[in-house]
């Protein structure tokens, strides 16, 4: 019975819990990063995810940025058709589900990490630029945040730098690079 109890809880913890904890939601559009950044598009991350003159980060660009090129269809994909018909023409913003959204109490500045520390985008966001589809957004039903924050592994163990985005991931990286932190560094 000891082993049964042990086994049941292990099963719940590693199999049932992740299944129940996250609900999947598709992105509003299947955006193909690879085609935009490959030979065909020839773009880089900061062509869309840019810094403004005052150093603030645009984040996910507005529909207007897409419309610069996609006012008229460039191809015949269903995603582009949806983009034009549903968002560009009516002038609506695309309700992207942001994998990396942090809690409101967290202050993060892209410019100091990207421009000052020269950290490549993929270090935190993974090889996102090489994907040709967007994976589903897995929402934690308790917190509302993306699974990407805790990490895809329910144990929270990561093998790549971009596998998790919890506070201690940031703090560990700061420590490795010799930065002393105080609470107010990230929680203003």
């Amino acid at each position: 019975m000891l082993l049964i109890g042990f086994g049941v809880v292990l099963y719940i913890g590693y199999v049932i819990l992740p299944a129940l904890l996250y609900e999947q939601e598709s992105q509003p559009l299947q955006f193909n990063h690879a085609v935009h950044m490959g030979d065909e598009g020839g773009m880089s991350c900061d062509d869309c995810h840019a810094f403004r003159d005052d150093g603030t980060f645009v984040g996910i660009p507005k529909t207007a940025s897409c419309a610069d090129c996609h006012e008229e269809p460039l191809g015949d994909s269903a995603a582009e058709k949806t983009l034009i018909e549903k968002y560009i023409k009516p002038g609506k913003e695309i309700p992207w589900l942001v994998y990396s959204r942090q809690p409101d109490n967290t202050y993060f500045t892209h410019v100091s990490h990207v421009k000052s520390a020269n950290i490549p985008c993929a270090h935190c966001h993974g090889p996102h630029g090489a994907t040709d589809t967007l994976r589903p957004y897995e929402r934690n039903v308790i917190t509302g945040y993306s699974r990407d924050i805790w990490g895809s592994a329910i144990t929270g163990i990561k093998t790549n730098s971009w596998d998790r985005m919890k506070m201690d991931d940031c703090a560990n990286c700061h420590t490795e690079h010799g930065f002393e932190d105080s609470c107010m560094t990230c929680h203003k």
């Binding site: 019975m1 000891l2 049964i4 086994g7 809880v9 913890g13 590693y14 917190t143």
Partner: protein
């Protein structure tokens, strides 16, 4: 095999062990803690596009040009606009925290009235106005028992004009200002100059020597944002081109620290120092006595007076060394342009009239009055009267501006201490933030026994706590109002603090409340009186063609003549612009009296020259110490502080909390007053419980106690009952409370 109790326990034990090696507990704990940060009770940040809104801060009348970061219609943060010519990008902590004022914990959104021992209770607006209307009617029918007064914190503004319109319809009323550096300086100008201007400014940007006697230039004096900007201008110059700062004050304050020379004068010896410097200027021929002979109508009498104050005598009175006095005088005379500035801090209150006369005299002696780098007399802002005096192109007077009511004689502003005691039956407190503190006793003695006080205030804090009725006014950014020339600025300016966000329901802009009060009292202010006052002013500016307009959007100046209508000018000013008058014209030497008007000038200065402390009532044996209250602008005034400033006070050991008595360690040792212990601070007016702090910055035998911050604002009390050091300071001459005799006695709480 059945399920036994043993097997059940084994199952549970196994499950417990299994739980420890799964992420179940840790993950759930982590998630639940994040959930609690986002549940419905927690305020959520709003998201959206941000924008920058240029405007002018109107919190204190300092007129700082600012850029407000907005998220939709919500102001988030404030920074200075470095192109704005008045403030040069400077702001103060209150301005930077100003977006928080809308959510201040003491904010009220419904009228409240005192209800006996129940304290304040909410009332309907109609009832509140009715209470005020009935009292107004009593004042009109029985003026001999007391009349109406308005305490105006922003003279010269459109709101001030509106108060004037209201009061001028009563047979007897008072348009009051509180005693301040400005009122004392104005009095000094009036008794010294043959043609006193209505306002002067200090051309600090071009001064080479600045002698500040008491005036805490970089600690909230006059327009603090401007001084922060001036400091930036000075710092941008090569060291050799920066002005030399001489600061005379008893305690080693921040101002003293940043000055090139600190003259640590004994308390109350400002007059002696000024007369001593005057002695050196004349006796060592550092000024051209021949050239002074014509404008200085009493030069011989002045020489006779300052002969009593040679450097050695002044050194004994002030505690300085003789060479310090001589050196200061020589630098003041030779390193020109030089300007001498008197004044007190926001908590200490103004210097006395004699001090200001003596200090003003130094400027007159070295020829700083009316000259660049010195004190500049300002013209009045363009208005109908001044335009009427200037004919238009056809040679006819420009009187085509219509007032809403027949303009009566302008209500003169009167300083609070000058009106008879018990003469106010209805006191209306202006909505503007009182950035300086004044002793409650100054108010109390002016109120009739059945007086009612009405506060137009967004907060139940400060003076509003003393009121009988509080009408919930809108805060800065929630209504549009004008910002006329800030005190001390060397040119006339006019700006507008724009409405950039919505106010909570139930609150009103102060002009709306005044309209209701006027109506309740059978008085007529006319429709949109407040807006019309601003428009009238703008129209006068446009018609005068004077000066230029700083356009905040382009960062450039435009000639006033390019604005054809008041509406166009208003649009520019509402977006962070600022009208700047022509530079004051250098005055032909205007006649003046260094001793002031009247036979007693020399006598008064001579008495005060021996030290104001000698004039204090009280026993120096029973009260051997000198109490010097002090405070920072905006903090001392007991008005609300933005919440971020509670951190400045709670967590900083560089700021005094109220009712901490700072004494020098030497005084502590001599009088057995232990650091950190409680003591009773006693003056001839009363006793307060204080906490002792040993502070090397304080002069021996001086007790320095902060006025403010209001403990209600810091969350230290929530019932509005707290004592202020100004409750036990003596007011002399009606307007000086910076020095009192005091004693300290350590007590041990059981």
């Amino acid at each position: 095999m059945g399920i036994t109790r043993r097997s059940l326990l084994q199952l549970v034990a196994g499950a417990a062990a299994g739980t420890m090696v799964t992420p179940l507990p840790w993950k759930l704990l982590d998630d639940v803690s994040i959930w609690t940060q986002n549940w419905f009770l927690t305020p959520q940040l709003i998201r959206g596009e941000t924008s920058e809104r240029l405007t002018t801060c109107g919190l204190c009348g300092g007129g700082c040009g600012i850029s407000v970061r907005m998220l939709g219609s919500v102001p988030l943060s404030v920074k200075g606009n470095k192109d704005q010519p008045v403030s040069h990008g400077g702001t103060c902590p209150l301005g930077m925290g100003s977006p928080q004022y809308r959510f201040h914990p003491t904010r009220i959104v419904k009228p409240i009235a005192k209800n006996g021992s129940n304290g304040f209770v909410p009332v309907e607006l109609k009832e509140a106005i009715s209470i005020i209307g009935k009292q107004l009617a009593k004042c009109k029918s029985e003026p001999q028992k007391g009349t109406v007064a308005v305490l105006d914190w922003r003279p010269g503004s459109a709101m001030s004009n509106m108060y004037g319109d209201f009061l001028s319809q009563l047979d007897r009323s008072y348009h009051l200002v509180a005693p301040s550096n400005q009122t004392t300086l104005t009095s000094a100008l009036e008794v010294t100059l043959a043609n006193p201007p209505h306002q002067v400014g200090y051309d600090l940007e071009n001064a080479k020597t600045v002698l500040s006697i008491g005036a805490p230039l970089f600690e909230g004096w006059n327009a603090p944002g401007r001084l922060a900007g001036v400091n930036r201008v000075w710092s941008g110059k090569k060291k050799a081109n920066r002005p030399y700062l001489i600061h005379a004050e008893s305690n080693h304050t921040t101002q003293a620290s940043v000055s090139d020379t600190w003259l640590a004068i004994k308390p109350g010896t400002e007059t002696a120092l000024a007369l001593g410097i005057g002695h050196v200027l004349l006796s060592e021929n550092l000024v051209d006595a021949g050239a002074l002979a014509e404008p200085a109508l009493d030069l011989d009498e002045y020489k006779k007076l300052v002969d009593q104050f040679p450097p050695q005598t002044v050194a004994e009175i002030t505690g300085l060394k003789k060479k310090e006095i001589v050196s200061a005088a020589k630098r003041f005379a030779k390193n020109t342009p030089a300007v001498a500035i008197g004044g007190g801090g926001a908590g200490a209150g103004p210097l006395g009239l004699e001090e200001e006369i003596a200090i003003l005299g130094l400027n007159l002696l070295v020829g700083s009055y009316g000259k660049p780098g010195g004190i500049l007399p300002l013209k009045t802002l363009p208005d109908e009267a001044s335009l009427a005096a200037v004919p238009n192109k056809e040679g006819k007077p420009q009187t085509n501006m219509v007032h809403l009511i027949e303009p009566k004689k302008a209500m003169p502003l009167t300083s609070l201490e000058k009106i008879p005691n018990r003469s106010i039956r209805l006191l209306i407190l202006d909505s503007a933030m009182p950035v300086t503190a004044i002793p409650k006793s100054l108010f109390d003695q002016k109120l009739a026994p059945d007086a009612i006080t009405v506060s137009l205030s967004p907060y139940l804090a400060g003076a509003a706590l003393e009121a009988d009725v509080v009408l919930p006014s809108q805060v800065t950014y929630e209504w549009e109002y004008d910002v006329p020339t800030p005190t001390g600025v060397p040119m006339n300016t006019y700006a507008v603090s724009a409405k950039i966000t919505e106010a909570p329901p139930g609150t009103k802009a102060p002009p709306e409340f005044m309209e209701l009060i006027a109506k309740a009292g059978g008085l007529e202010l006319g429709e949109n009186a407040f807006a019309k006052h601003i428009d009238d002013r703008l129209e006068a500016i446009v018609k005068s063609g004077r000066g230029k307009v700083f356009d905040a959007k382009s960062g450039k100046d435009k000639d006033t003549s390019t604005f054809k209508t008041a509406a166009k000018l208003r649009k520019t000013l509402s977006n962070g612009g600022c009208w700047i008058d022509d530079a004051p014209v250098a005055e032909e030497s205007t006649p003046f009296r260094l001793l002031g008007i009247g036979d007693q000038g020399a006598t008064r200065l001579s008495i005060m020259g021996k030290g104001r402390v000698t004039t204090l009532k009280g026993n120096s044996k029973s009260h051997p110490l000198i109490l010097m209250p002090y405070g920072d602008r905006g903090v001392a005034g007991e008005s609300a502080l933005p919440q971020v400033m509670t951190k400045l006070y709670r967590e900083s050991e560089l700021r005094q909390l109220y009712l901490t008595a700072h004494i020098s360690p030497e005084t502590g040792t001599k009088r057995r007053l232990t650091d950190g212990h409680h003591a009773l601070l006693d003056t001839p007016l009363g006793t307060l419980d204080v906490t002792l702090v040993h502070d090397h910055a304080v002069m021996p035998e001086v007790v320095r106690v902060a006025v403010g911050p209001n403990p209600l604002t810091l969350g230290d009390v929530d019932d509005g009952k707290f004592a202020s050091i100004l409750d036990i300071t003596k007011v002399t001459g009606g307007s000086v409370w910076r020095l009192s005799r005091a004693s300290l006695r350590e007590v041990h709480l059981g």
